[in-house]
């Protein structure tokens, strides 16, 4: 059964891909959805087994790559962490498959879309199910490929292809770090199996320099995949892909792979305080940085993209302070509400026939009420309004950050409050106020079909109640998710000094944040609804700060000047100066000088028979003379 979970989506991919256009759309959709749904059912079974106390399960298919002392196999590990990931991937994956049936209905390449989507689910499952680093790497690069394929799904548009290439190449930078980290793990542990490595790791003393090196390298991989500074700029561009892709790959699952990976390696990270610090700082800076950019964006998907980058940063904050379970908890709730928000945005875009600019929206709530209500729930959840899902998970991260350092807490809170503002800005500009969409668009506006609204409703329910799986002690809960995951984080827990906040402090922190949150919502309401403020049109004069944020701190331009262009210059230099005028010139010179020499020697062969005979006779005499002298 374990094997079937990844294999079914793979079969789905193969079937749809190999049938090509011959397959009727409906059938392709059926296969695509069913394969993921069956995997989901199997995942539930495994999950229930673990829930009732079964030991982690391992299953090996066959030996994969081996040479000398190196060996790796195709084998899977089902433990609480991976089984939770399985539920998210197949569960939300299934909902998004269903949603896509409606969303992609009119696309000519409908079948191709479903084949890619199934392939993605396959690789994502490999990533979390693999019981060794190399198999995780297979999934890791595989989802990168699918991300590339789906960002550039509409391949006639070269801008989209640029975005796809950027995503793949930038991810490869991270992958380079990851693979070198994996190799160093093999060098030091003599194995790349999680089990062997983690059990050997408990004998290592804290603060070994090579552990820091390994974990840092692994984290570079996480930076790429989970879009953290400095490798985050691909994710906003990745919004070129169809919206279900943004929801599934670029919000709910793939981009959280880095979080999963760090959590999986919690023991190694806990051995290296320096690496933990790096994770924490990167997370904090990214969370704040991306949130400020999101304040000014006018593309509905771009706002959500920067929000994703920011939320991922928050998850890394959790990991960085050693609250691994909280990181995973927030990853789960984020998967619910961010998938919901993206799908909601997709429904808006669908209703407006491709319009993505919030300046041309407004007043949509009465036309597409299901989308509106579900989107509202998503916004409440991400803003951390109790009792929606985001409240609990975010609160847990903030409380943990506070224990580590009030400064970290302050930055994280600031990022969260900015999130509240830009999310409500988005909500108000889209659904409230004047209708700015133009008569033609408003005339055709329609609520999305059932296949799209039902997933929205389910995700809205999850976003509402999802937080209760981590209900803290404070509210009489047992923090189920933290207990469920505790075996995975058991050994690293021993290395951490546990603080406990008093209930009073916890209430005070929580109360402060909620109060600020409400104040910000009121402010956003007055600005965007009461005063009906609309962001400046393209090309309008902006203040320096506003412009810097709007242009995303010019990071793309900086990367272009500092990395991309120099690489091309260097390549040109190699090609023109060193290759053509250097090495090849030298080779030809040797050749030419030889030519000159042979021109000299050619005179010896002048074609006169008499001359040849003369030389021959002289030669014979010399040979004879030579042999006599010996």
């Amino acid at each position: 059964m374990i094997f079937l979970i990844p294999i079914l989506p793979l079969l789905g991919f193969l079937f749809i891909a190999l049938s090509g256009k011959r397959l009727v759309k409906g059938f392709a959709a059926l296969i695509g959805c069913t394969s993921v749904f069956v995997s989901f059912c199997f995942s539930i079974t495994l999950f229930v087994k673990l829930l009732y106390g079964a030991a982690p399960m391992e299953a090996t298919l066959f030996r994969w790559i081996s040479a000398g002392s190196f060996s790796s196999s195709i084998s899977f590990l089902i433990d609480p962490l991976s089984s939770l990931m399985l539920l998210i991937i197949t569960g939300i994956g299934f909902l998004i498959h269903v949603y896509s049936v409606g969303y992609m209905h009119d696309d000519a390449a409908f079948n191709r879309f479903f084949s890619y989507l199934n392939l993605f689910v396959f690789f994502m499952l490999l990533l979390v199910m693999g019981s060794n680093y190399l198999l995780m790497f297979v999934g890791w690069e595989g989802v990168g490929l699918c991300s590339y394929l789906l960002i550039g799904f509409w391949f006639k548009n070269q801008d989209y292809n640029d975005a796809a290439n950027k995503a793949f190449i930038m991810n490869r930078v991270g992958d380079l770090g990851l693979i070198v980290g994996v190799i160093l793990i093999f060098t030091h542990f003599g194995s790349i199996d999680y089990k062997t490595v983690f059990s050997a790791a408990s004998n290592i003393s804290q603060g070994e320099w090579w552990v820091t090196l390994v974990t840092t390298l692994l984290f570079i991989g996480a930076m790429g995949k989970s879009a953290q500074i400095p490798l985050y700029t691909w994710l906003p561009d990745a919004m070129a892909g169809p919206t279900p892709v943004s929801a599934l790959i670029h919000a709910a699952t793939m981009v959280t792979a880095g979080v999963y990976m760090v959590a999986r390696n919690n023991i190694l990270y806990s051995l290296s305080p320096v690496a933990m610090e790096l994770v924490l700082v990167t997370g904090l800076v990214t969370a704040l940085f991306a949130a400020t950019i999101a304040l000014t964006q006018n593309d509905i998907k771009k706002v959500l993209a920067y929000s994703t980058v920011s939320q991922l940063g928050l998850m890394f904050v959790a990991l960085g302070v050693g609250a691994y379970a909280s990181g995973i908890f927030h990853m789960a709730t984020h998967a619910f509400f961010k998938a919901l928000l993206f799908l909601g945005a997709g429904s808006v875009i669908h209703a407006l026939h491709g319009q993505q600019d919030i300046r041309s929206m407004g007043g949509l709530k009465k036309y597409i009420s299901v989308t509106y209500v579900t989107f509202l729930i998503g916004v409440l959840a991400i803003s951390g309004i109790p009792p929606f899902a985001g409240f609990f998970s975010k609160d847990e991260i903030l409380a943990n950050a506070f224990q580590q350092s009030p400064v970290a807490w302050g930055i994280a809170v600031l990022a969260s409050l900015l999130t509240v503002f830009y999310m409500f800005r988005l909500l108000f500009l889209t659904f409230f106020g004047k209708e700015r969409a133009g008569e033609e668009a408003m005339h055709h506006i329609h609520e999305s079909p059932k296949s799209m609204t039902v997933p929205l409703i389910i995700l809205a329910v999850l976003s509402t109640v999802g937080g209760f799986m981590g209900l803290p002690e404070l509210f009489g809960g047992g923090n189920w998710i933290s207990n469920f995951l505790s075996p995975v984080f058991a050994s690293s827990k021993e290395l951490r000094v546990e603080h406990h906040l008093s209930h009073v402090t916890e209430y005070a922190l929580m109360g402060t944040i909620v109060a600020f949150t409400l104040a910000i919502i009121v402010f956003a309401y007055s600005r965007y609804v009461s005063k009906a403020h609309v962001p400046a049109a393209e090309g309008a004069e902006l203040s320096t700060l506003h412009k810097t944020l709007y242009r995303k701190y010019y990071v793309d331009e900086i990367y272009d000047t500092v990395i991309v262009k120099p690489l091309f210059w260097l390549s040109k230099l190699f090609d023109i100066v060193i290759e053509k005028s250097g090495i090849d010139r030298l080779v030809n010179l040797i050749h030419e000088s030889l030519n000159d020499w042979s021109a000299t020697f050619r005179r010896l062969q002048n074609g006169y028979l008499g001359y040849y005979i003369f030389v021959m006779v002289m030669g014979v005499i010399l040979v004879i003379a030579f042999s006599y002298t010996r």
């Binding site: 790559i65 040479a67 000398g68 297979v138 391949f155 006639k156 290439n165 380079l176 060098t187 190699f574």
Partner: protein, 489 residues
Amino acid sequence: MLTALLIFIPLAASVVVLATKPFLAKFISFSVSLAVLAVSLVTAFQFDKTQGTQFALNLPWVTSLGINFSVGIDGISLLLVLLTTVLMPGIILSSFRDTSKPSSFYSLMLLMQSAMIGVFVSLDGFLFYIFWEVALIPIYFICLGWGGENRGRITLKFFIYTLTGSLFMLVALIYLYFKTPGQHTFAIQALYDAGHLLSSTQQALVFVALFLAFAIKMPIFPFHTWQPDTYTVAPVEGTMLLSAIMLKMGIYGVIRWLIPMVPLAVKTWGGVALSLSVIGIVYASCIAIVQKDFKRLIAYSSIAHVGLISAGLMTLTVVGMQGAMIQMVSHGIVVFGLFYVVEIISDRAKTRDLSQLGGIRNVAPLLATVFMVIMLGSVALPITSGFVGEFLLINSLVQYKLWIGVIAATTMILGAVYMFRTYQKVMSGETNGVTALVNDLSHYERLVLFPVVILIVLIGIYPGPLLDISEAAVKNLLSIYPDLTAVVK
């Protein structure tokens, strides 16, 4: 006996084809290549992977000079023989245009196959040299007779360049020959023994001479400048022969005739060879990024890939050498597919200029998909054949020295840059006037390319059997470096 068949079937056929009617030439050559493939498969099935050299044949040839017709197959040889025999039918099939003078053309191809197999199975220094040189002649004439613009000047340069390298090798072999005790002999084991007894200076000289020959053949930076021109100007079959199989002669030479021959020098100077190879990876990848000619771009990518292989070899570890073995197989298949795709496109669009191509995916989706898979093999995406080798090679280099490993591993990034950009320029975007005429793969082309795609994925998922073939031979070969093959801790 099987070994001799592998050499003599194509050799005999090459004479026969020369005499047959032109329209039969291709058919006969193809059938012969299939027959040789069958023989090689029989060999592979009878091969005992736990044993050393098998199917040995040792006939006296020039007894007075100690030269024997001595051939045999171990795991290392077998993989390369298989690569040759598997690709050969494909290369013959891929020559779909009306070749002028087909009799001579296919005769030369078969002669080439015979000589290359000879190189991979020779256990006598002189025989090895003969096959090595014989292989050069047909490819020279193939390039000269059927090549593109400027072929005269370019193929002459190629010929002289590689011939110069071979002369160094000949000198080194003769030198070793004279160092063999008693009745001099070219037998490989005797040469090994003679090499081991040399002083470190003498070993260094032999190392330089042999390495030059092999480095030029592969080619390794900075001995590579003949390669892009030659690959570009050669007819596609010639390019395939050169890149998919012939360059492996150079790598094979390092494995069989250099590393076990002069261990002291290899330990001392191997680092230099390794460094050159690693420089070549970055250097050639960068140049590939700015190429405008599709075929030339692939040529430079080949230099980068070969650089990684030879760098891994020079770590003298089982992991590195096994990586090199599997990567040779993978590179052969991948580069064959790439050049075929280039040929198909340039044949239909009448240009290889990347700036003029684009949007082929709209008109030829199957071609685009096939190219995508081959490209993924080239950039070493996991579960393609390219990943297995690249991972093992980078693994060996990281263990050799971390920073060198990291530089070598930048091929992951740079490879993605030039290949994905190429895919975008050729396949994606809107179809234009040039590419509108590109129709999708014919049945005939599918027959060649589908096996390529299947092999790339299959080897990527299940490389075990191939790795097993050469593991024992590689361990045996490296046993003279006991301190290096121990697990690095």
